[in-house]
Symmetry: C2
Subunit: 215 residues, 2 copies
């Protein structure tokens, strides 16, 4: 549909990089919201799963701040209840938090550029934060892929390849190198936005980049 | 104007408690915004200055997380630039951060129920975050009060009374007892909202309380 030669302006679609972890509760809100919002703003999504645990450890924290600080932890679930109500998103406080989801994350990395990535991420997040299922298990990841009509066995085998495992470690190191200290984090070009509360600002900034670009 | 006997519904004005510290950058945003927003929502403000430093120390932090975590600290000033632009609020990154402002805080406590509290808080915040002045000094606090046409010498003497000093320590202990772990924090009844990002939600909740109250 686009013709770069005759309409250079319309051929540029701004991109938002979406750095997230399935264990992160505020990433849940963004995973559920981002596809529709980004489409409304005419912004592409670059899905960037990374492991928040090693990033926290590099910063000197051996767990989520929502676990390490009990006052903040108590507040966060109140805030999540209100935020989920506001956005019309289901919430059941997970009995395990934060949930490690290494295989689910490896599958997300494998699928980051495939058409099923958004639906897959929503499915995994719903299983964790609405259904309180163990998204760290191979059974639950398989079930999620099955429900999306995807070849679960093949995808899981590919996700567990040494090359893909290494890529996830590299992507996590890249997150730290970019100055990421929490999730979700968004980048539009060099501009960093932290937290679901900044998703709309990040998308507005992305949209403004398209307008700002010379034709 | 109100007649509680003949119009009980209109005599109830919901209140938002606003817990803040002049050294806190996100408190700056709320101090500059809250009076107009609260009026628009028909919500009264209970001004609750407290000392964030002792609260952080009780939680095991010997400084602001924006100082202790350099990645977060670097981000926060980018975020502040964008937020201030969005709200039309001036910003000069203070050369000292966080600024201790004990006297200014004691004056805020003294004035919490006086008609000048909102204007005084905005003035001190502007001096810190827009003019990069040392709000910890008696000269700057005097200047702020002078500019508001207030009796600076008397107010400062009252603020430094033993009784008022004790009250600020007690209010700080009360903040910790309420589960406050950062600033700004808002309470509407028992509902706690943390951060300038939740000011609008807190006010909407406050407004809904008026509507919900039986006439």
């Amino acid at each position: 549909m686009n013709d770069a030669a005759s309409s250079p302006a319309s051929s540029f679609t701004p991109k938002i990089e979406f750095w997230f972890d399935f264990g992160s509760n505020y990433s849940y809100l963004s995973v559920m919201r981002i596809e529709a919002l980004a489409a409304a703003h005419g912004v592409r999504i670059g899905w960037r799963p990374f492991l928040l645990g090693p990033v926290f450890r590099d910063l000197g924290f051996d767990n989520s701040p929502f676990v390490l600080q009990k006052e903040k932890g108590a507040y966060v679930w109140k805030d999540m209840e209100r935020q989920c109500r506001k956005y019309g998103i289901a919430l059941t406080r997970p009995t395990t938090f934060p949930r490690a989801a290494l295989l689910a994350m490896r599958v997300a990395l494998l699928g980051a550029d495939r058409p099923w990535i958004a639906a897959y991420c929503r499915k995994i997040m719903q299983l964790n934060f609405a259904d309180d299922r163990d998204i760290g298990s191979i059974e639950v990841v398989s079930e999620a892929l099955d429900e999306l009509g995807l070849p679960a066995r093949q995808i899981i085998a590919d996700a567990q390849s040494d090359a893909n495992k290494l890529r996830l470690r590299e992507q996590t190191a890249a997150a730290a190198a970019k100055g990421i200290f929490g999730a979700p984090t968004f980048f539009v070009g060099e501009e960093m936005f932290w937290g679901n509360d900044r998703l709309d600002d990040a998308l507005e900034y992305g949209e403004s980049q398209r307008a700002a670009r010379p034709a």
